[in-house]
């Protein structure tokens, strides 16, 4: 995998003769954003707040310079924009030295990872009455209200590309799907979740039931006429992942990671007892691919409540 300083360097080299807007929209820049989010969180969970603040500050300056250059009516090349070039150079030098230090970031850390006491995987199963479960699902949704709203706004927007809707719906399934909810709440029988009117409303709003309804729809000559939008949606759900979908999917995946890393940072910076140690353990597992985005968010939420 390429290092962050290499990414910054190659992004600048590739776009030095171009305009800032090309750089801002490029895959190179998306990768820089992604790696920056990882590095910044890595510094925070290892207790290097000062360096993390530096990296954040320099990245913000670079991002602002890029935004300003991209929206400026003057059409300067990247190499001729002093503010942008200067910001990129400073950021590049910092991340280059950090990259060179490699594992020393961890060696110089005073933080020892502490296994989170509770994770979604270990939520014990228990018996629920239906009204209790309905209330628990209501609370589950309330705690994820921001995410729910965000997903809904993407899904409801007629201008959202169908490929992106498909990806968002997949993420919604991971967070609000029947099995995900049952697992998170420790419900013995997932059927109880299906019977919950609260969950049914969530699933309906997010379109999580559409696929199973689609499958049961009659086929052949007696098939119902469907609207153009639904047809396009179905086509996108059934279509294989091709390069046409790769770009929006990559953007969404990046946004997912960025949001997840932000949660880890929030925990680390919460000032609560052992928060940094817990955040480090979560970060390490997430970085190693041992935890999904959803699991990280769940675990962080539980940790935040545990104090």
């Amino acid at each position: 995998m390429r290092s962050l300083p290499d990414m910054v360097e190659s992004a600048l080299e590739a776009h030095t003769e171009n305009q800032a807007l090309d750089l801002a929209r490029s895959e190179d820049w998306l990768q820089v954003r992604d790696r920056y989010a990882w590095l910044s969180s890595r510094l925070i969970v290892n207790g290097h707040e000062a360096v993390a603040r530096r990296v954040d500050r320099e990245y913000q300056i670079l991002r602002d310079a890029l935004r300003q250059a991209a929206t400026s009516p003057e059409t300067r090349k990247v190499k001729d924009d002093y503010a942008l070039w200067e910001a990129a150079t400073e950021f590049h030098l910092t991340v280059k030295h950090l990259e060179h230090l490699g594992g020393r970031i961890e060696e110089l850390s005073s933080v020892k990872a502490v296994e989170p006491s509770t994770s979604p995987r270990t939520v014990p199963k228990r018996s629920w009455t239906q009204p209790e479960l309905d209330e628990a699902i209501r609370q589950y949704k309330a705690k994820r209200a921001a995410r729910f709203k965000e997903m809904l706004s993407i899904l409801d927007n007629p201008r959202t590309p169908s490929s992106r809707k498909r990806t968002v719906r997949r993420a919604a399934q991971r967070m609000f799907g029947r099995n995900a909810v049952a697992k998170a709440l420790g419900v013995k029988s997932a059927k109880m979740v299906s019977r919950s009117p609260v969950w049914a409303e969530i699933a309906d709003t997010l379109g999580l039931l559409r696929r199973s309804r689609d499958r049961s729809a009659p086929s052949g000559a007696g098939k119902q006429r469907i609207g153009l939008e639904i047809a396009a949606e179905r086509a996108s759900q059934q279509a294989p992942v091709t390069s046409d979908y790769a770009a929006p999917d990559a953007t969404f995946a990046h946004e997912e990671r960025e949001a997840t890393l932000a949660r880890i940072r929030k925990l680390a910076e919460s000032g609560k007892d052992k928060a940094v140690e817990h955040a480090k353990a979560i970060y390490d597992k997430y970085a190693a691919g041992e935890m999904t985005d959803e699991e990280v968010r769940e675990t962080v939420a539980i940790q935040m409540e545990a104090f």
């Binding site: 530096r54 030098l93 030295h97 230090l101």
Partner: protein
Amino acid sequence: MAVDLSRWPLLALMENINRWERSARSDDFWRTLTEHIHWANSLRDEAKGIIVWLELNRLEETASRLDEAMRCFREALWEFEHVCEGTYSPDDPRCRERREAFIETAARVAGVAEALDGEVAERVWEGYGHA
């Protein structure tokens, strides 16, 4: 006999800046301008490595003093390039003035590096420069 300064990065930085400064004050400066600017950028790189290391070792305040001195150095470099761009002539008084200011900020960075060297414990540098 040459003294190995690698164990004292701040002194090494100071020495490198002093060398640059002596060279920049000579008449050759105008003929070897590109090399001098390239050299100045490598000093910037060297200083950034020290700043990041000090911050990783929780010496934020120390790092910020060097950082501030380097900020002035960077601005002076840009001012010099901006004012002299296209001509880089020793006969242009504005350009000469900018060169003096640029050299002056470098001398200030060397002074800060020397002062900080006396404040930073030697053990802080253990492992510096080794990945």
